[in-house]
C-alpha cells in the first residue's frame, strides 16, 4: 500500500468513513465545489453497516413525526428518484404492505396510517383480508388486515453508494482506502488528521464512521455525546424461483425497537426474510446463528407457506450503528469545523442523499463556501438488477463466468479497473454479483480465480465476505 499520496495536500473537507452515508456526503460536497478526501479504514468501501441491509428505499411513512430522520428519508428518497436514471441505478417500485396478523396488531393500523399521513406519505390505502389475499395470493390465509404504502421501493444497496462515490471521484474527489483515522487536531484554521497512511490537512472534517462514530468523535474532539450499540440483523435469502411468491414488500406492524421481520424480493430477483434485531458489543463481526436462521426460515414460511418448499441461496448478517437513543445523532461542532453524522441506524440507505444535503447546509454554516460545479460528470454504473439489460445479452462479452448470476468475463474485467476497483473478493461480489447465486461458487471458483489472478490484494478462495 503506497503512503499518503497527498503528503501535505490540503482538502476542503475530509470525510471519515466510506459507508453509504460517507459516499453520499462526499458526492454532495464535491458537487458543491469542495475538494474532498474520503478516508476509509477497510480495503474496500461499504465494509461496515452498509455491507448488509434489507435494501428497501423507505418513504419514511413510519419514521418519528417531525424528526430529522423523517426529513432526510423524504429528501433522500426524492433525490434518488431524480438522479437514478442518469447514474443508471435500479428501482423496483414494489410497494409495501403492512400486515396485521393478530387482533392487537390490527388495532394499531389506524394509528400507523395517521402517522404515515403526518409524515407526508398520504397515498396509503387500507385493505381487508380478502383484498390482501387477492393482491398477494401466496400470503398465509390467517392475515387479518393491512395497508399499502405504494412508494416503498427496492434498490441495489451497493450500486447506489458506488455510484455516489464514483460521481465524487469523477469530479475530483480522492479516495484513500486502508486508511484509518487514528487521531488529529484542529489549530483554529484547519484540521491535521493522523491516519495509518500518514497525515492529511483539511478545512473541515465529517465523521461518518458508522459503527465507530463515537470513537472517532472521542479521538478528534475528546468527547462524544452518544454510544454506539451495535444491533445485529440476520437474513435468509431464497433462490430466484421464490420471488414469484411476493409482489409487495411484506412488513409486520413495527415493534418498539425495530421494523420487525420483513419478507421481500431483492432487485436481483431473490426473496429475503429478515432482519433480526440483536444487541451486541462487537462492532466488527456479525455472526450467523443456526437457530436464528432456522427461526427466520420458519417465520418466512409462516407468512408465505409456499416458501417451505424453496431453496436457500445465501445467508448474511449486518450491524446497525444504533445508539442509546432512536434518533440520528447529526451535529455541527461550532469552533471546531467538524460535523458528526452518527447513529444512522436503520434507514441510512434511504436517507443518505438527504443526510448529505443536510450536512452540506451545516458545512456552509461552518464556513464552507459553495461554488457548485457547472457541468459535473455523471458516470453510469452497471445496472445488475433482474430484468435490466445485462452484459450477457450483448456481443463481445467474453462468455459467462458465473452461471447462476450470468456474470460475464468482460463485466469482471471492467469491475477490476477504474478508480473504484475492488481489492477483495467481497468487493468484487458487490460490484458484479459473481458467486452470489445458488451454487455459491461450485461452478465458477476455478474460472474466477483465473480471471482475478494478481488483481486482488486478498487472493480469491471460495466464498468470503469478511
Amino acid at each position: 500500500m503506497p503512503d499518503m499520496p497527498h503528503g501535505s495536500a490540503r482538502f476542503d473537507a475530509a470525510v471519515v468513513g466510506a459507508g453509504i452515508v460517507g459516499c453520499a456526503i462526499a458526492r454532495r460536497l464535491t458537487l458543491l465545489g469542495a475538494r474532498v478526501a474520503v478516508l476509509e479504514k477497510a480495503p474496500d468501501i461499504l465494509d461496515g453497516a452498509s455491507k448488509a441491509n434489507s435494501a428497501i428505499l423507505h418513504t419514511g411513512f413510519d419514521a418519528p413525526v417531525g424528526s430529522l430522520e423523517a426529513a432526510c428519508i423524504r429528501e433522500g428518497h426524492r433525490e434518488y428518484l431524480e438522479i437514478r436514471e442518469r447514474l443508471n441505478l435500479p428501482l423496483d417500485r414494489a410497494g409495501a404492505l403492512v400486515l396485521a396478523w393478530t387482533e392487537a396488531e390490527e388495532a394499531r393500523l389506524p394509528e400507523l396510517i395517521a402517522q404515515s399521513r403526518q409524515n407526508g406519505v398520504a397515498d396509503v390505502e387500507m385493505f381487508g383480508r380478502k383484498e390482501l389475499l387477492d393482491l398477494e395470493p401466496a400470503l398465509a390465509p390467517h392475515v387479518r388486515a393491512g395497508f399499502r404504502v405504494p412508494r416503498e421501493s427496492l434498490i441495489d444497496p451497493w450500486s447506489a453508494p458506488h455510484a455516489y462515490l464514483l460521481q465524487a471521484l469523477g469530479n475530483g474527489a480522492t479516495l484513500l482506502r486502508d486508511c484509518t483515522v487514528t487521531g488529529g487536531g484542529f489549530d483554529g484554521a484547519e484540521w491535521r488528521l493522523e491516519t495509518s497512511r500518514g497525515p492529511l490537512r483539511a478545512g473541515l472534517v465529517v465523521n461518518a464512521a458508522g459503527l465507530h462514530g463515537d470513537r472517532v468523535d472521542e479521538m478528534l474532539l475528546g468527547t462524544c455525546d452518544f454510544r454506539i450499540r451495535p444491533r445485529k440483523g440476520q437474513f435468509v435469502v431464497f433462490d430466484k424461483t421464490a420471488a414469484r411468491l411476493a409482489c409487495h414488500i411484506l412488513l409486520p406492524v413495527p415493534g418498539e425497537k425495530t421494523k420487525g421481520i420483513v419478507v421481500c424480493r431483492t432487485v436481483w430477483g431473490n426473496l429475503l426474510v429478515g432482519p433480526t434485531a440483536e444487541e451486541q458489543k462487537d462492532r466488527e463481526t456479525a455472526a450467523l446463528v443456526p437457530a436464528t436462521l432456522a427461526m427466520l426460515r420458519a417465520k418466512g414460511a409462516e407468512i408465505l407457506p409456499a416458501l417451505a418448499g424453496e431453496e436457500i441461496t445465501a445467508l448474511y448478517a449486518g450491524l446497525r450503528p444504533a445508539t442509546e437513543r432512536k434518533e440520528y445523532r447529526i451535529r455541527a461542532h461550532e469552533g471546531r469545523r467538524m460535523i458528526t453524522v452518527g447513529g444512522i441506524r436503520s434507514t441510512g440507505m434511504s436517507a443518505a442523499l438527504g443526510i448529505a444535503v443536510h450536512v452540506a447546509r451545516l458545512a456552509e454554516g461552518l464556513g464552507l463556501a459553495p461554488a457548485p460545479l457547472v457541468d459535473p460528470a455523471w458516470p453510469r454504473i452497471e445496472n445488475l438488477s433482474d430484468g435490466a439489460e445485462r452484459d450477457w445479452q450483448r456481443p463481445g462479452n467474453g462468455g459467462i463466468l458465473c452461471h447462476c448470476e450470468l456474470v460475464t468475463r468482460r463485466e469482471v474485467a471492467a469491475a477490476l479497473q477504474g478508480p473504484l476497483a475492488p481489492q477483495t473478493l467481497a468487493g468484487l461480489k458487490r460490484r458484479t454479483r459473481v458467486t452470489m447465486g445458488r451454487c455459491q461458487g461450485f461452478y465458477c471458483s476455478a474460472g474466477l480465480a483465473e480471471c482475478t489472478k494478481g488483481r486482488l490484494a486478498h487472493p480469491m478462495v471460495g466464498e468470503g465476505d469478511g
Binding site: A287, T313, Q440, E463, G464, G466
Partner: protein, 402 residues
C-alpha cells in the same frame, strides 16, 4: 465448429457424460443435425476435474482418470459428427423445443425437433446447511476445490476440514492429498460413514481422522477461515483449520428447469419423465444426473445413449403419446422419489430407463408391492435400488413397513 443454426434436429443442453453419449449415439443412428451446447470452455462435465480413477471401464474398456475420460468422450462425439458449441449457455426453455441461449457473441435462439436436457448435479453449498459463524474465504464444495486444484493448479488452503462422508468426500480427500494439503479431519453427524464401508480405508491410509457423531456448527475467521466449532454428544469444541470443504448433498442443477414450463418432480427435483426420459412437454427429454442425485459417470453415459435412442424413435414418430402416460403413485410413506415418474402406454420401442429406480427417504425395513409382486426392501437413503419397470395400468406402488 459449425455456426449455431436457427433450427436443427436435436439440441443437447450440457456436455457431460450424458449429453456427449447421447450426441454420439444420435449421430451413429443417422440423425441429421445434432448440436450440443456446453456453457464451460471445455466439454466433459464433472469428470473434467475429477483427476482420479476409476472412469471409463464400462465405456472404453479401460481404467482412466476423469480428465482423460472427458477428453475421450469429447473426441468420440466429435468423430461421430455432432457439433459441439462451447461457452454457450442456455438461459431459457420455451414450449415446443425453442431454447434461448447466450454466447460470447450475445444472445440467440434455436428451435429443435427434440431437446435433451443433461445439466447434471452439484453439491449443496454452505448456506442451505444453515451453518453459523462468519463468512470468511476458504469455504468450498468439492467441485470448486477440484476445479481450483486441477484446472488452475492452485492450493486454496493447507489444513481444511472435510464435511460429509458420501463417496465424493473421499474424492475431496484424495484431491487434498494430491495438492499437498493435510485435512484436519472428516466430520459426519451420523454414527457411521455414508459411503460403503471400504471407503473407510482411504482416510485411514492417509492418516486423516474421521469424527463420527460430529456436526459442524460454526465457521470463524474474517478474511480466511481460522477455526470451526464442532458439536459432538452435546458438547462443543473449537478446532483450528484454514478451510472447509462441504461435500455431497447432491442436487440436480435444475435452475433452467424450474424457471421453465416443464413439470418438476418434487422428490428428485429433476424433470418429471416417462420411461423414455421424455418430459411433460414431449419436445424435451432428459438424461444423466439431472434426473436424480446421484449416479456415476458410467451410469449417466449409458443413460445418455439410451435416451438418445429414444429420441430417434421420437423423431420417427414411434413413441407412444406422452399425454396418455400414467403417473407412478406411491401409497405409504418411506420413499424420497421414484424414477421414471410416468409410464407411457405400450407399443413403443424398449424403455430408455429400463428399471424403476427408487430411493428411501430414511432407513426403511418392509415390503414394496409393485405390479402384483412383493419385494422385500431393507433400504438406506443413500443406496441405489432398482425394480422391474411397472407395466402400463400397474403403476401403483404400495409400501408396507415391517
Amino acid at each position: 465448429m459449425a455456426d449455431l443454426p436457427e433450427s436443427c434436429d436435436v439440441l443437447i443442453v450440457g456436455g457431460g457424460p450424458a449429453g456427449l453419449a447421447a450426441a454420439a449415439r444420435l449421430k451413429r443412428l443417422g440423425v441429421g443435425a445434432v448440436h450440443l451446447l456446453e456453457r464451460e470452455s471445455e466439454t466433459g462435465g464433472i469428470p473434467r476435474h475429477c483427476a482420479h480413477s476409476p472412469y471409463g471401464l464400462r465405456e472404453f474398456g479401460r481404467l482412466m482418470s476423469g480428465p482423460a475420460f472427458a477428453r475421450r468422450l469429447t473426441a468420440a462425439t466429435v468423430a461421430a459428427g455432432a457439433y459441439l458449441h462451447r461457452q454457450a449457455t442456455v438461459t431459457a426453455l420455451h414450449p415446443g423445443g425453442r431454447v434461448s441461449l447466450t454466447t460470447p457473441e450475445g444472445v440467440a435462439e434455436v428451435t429443435a425437433r427434440a431437446v435433451l436436457l443433461a445439466t447434471g448435479v452439484r453439491e449443496t453449498p454452505r448456506a442451505p446447511r444453515l451453518v453459523g459463524g462468519t463468512r470468511p474465504g476458504g469455504v468450498l464444495n468439492t467441485g470448486a476445490l477440484q476445479g481450483l486444484v486441477h484446472l488452475d493448479g492452485l492450493k486454496p488452503f493447507d489444513r481444511p476440514l472435510i464435511v460429509g462422508t458420501e463417496p465424493v468426500a473421499f474424492s475431496a480427500l484424495l484431491t487434498c492429498r494430491q495438492a499437498g494439503m493435510r485435512p484436519v479431519a472428516m466430520v459426519e453427524p451420523a454414527a457411521r460413514i455414508t459411503a460403503r464401508a471400504p471407503f473407510r480405508a482411504v482416510p485411514l491410509a492417509l492418516g486423516v481422522p474421521v469424527w463420527l457423531g460430529t456436526a459442524l456448527v460454526a465457521i470463524h475467521g474474517t478474511e480466511r477461515v481460522e477455526a470451526v466449532t464442532l458439536a459432538a454428544g452435546g458438547t462443543c469444541r473449537e478446532v483450528s483449520v484454514d478451510g472447509v470443504v462441504f461435500t455431497g448433498g447432491f442436487r440436480p442443477e435444475n435452475a433452467l428447469l424450474r424457471a421453465s414450463h416443464l413439470a418438476v418432480d418434487p422428490g428428485t427435483r429433476g424433470p418429471q419423465v416417462d420411461q423414455y426420459g421424455r418430459c411433460s412437454d414431449p419436445a424435451y427429454f432428459a438424461a444423466g444426473n439431472l434426473l436424480r442425485a446421484v449416479e456415476t459417470a458410467g451410469w449417466c453415459w449409458a443413460e445418455g445413449r439410451a435416451v438418445g435412442r429414444a429420441i430417434v424413435a421420437h423423431l420417427a414418430g414411434r413413441l407412444p403419446p406422452r399425454e396418455a402416460a400414467q403417473a407412478v403413485t406411491v401409497e405409504g410413506a418411506g420413499l424420497a422419489w421414484v424414477l421414471p415418474q410416468r409410464i407411457a402406454p405400450p407399443g413403443g420401442p424398449p424403455a430408455a430407463l429400463p428399471r424403476l429406480q427408487v430411493r428411501a427417504a430414511k432407513v426403511f425395513d418392509g415390503d414394496l408391492l409393485l405390479g402384483g409382486r412383493r419385494h422385500r426392501l431393507v433400504a438406506r437413503p443413500e443406496r441405489r435400488m432398482t425394480f422391474d419397470l411397472p407395466g402400463f395400468g400397474e403403476t401403483a406402488i404400495r409400501l408396507q413397513p415391517r
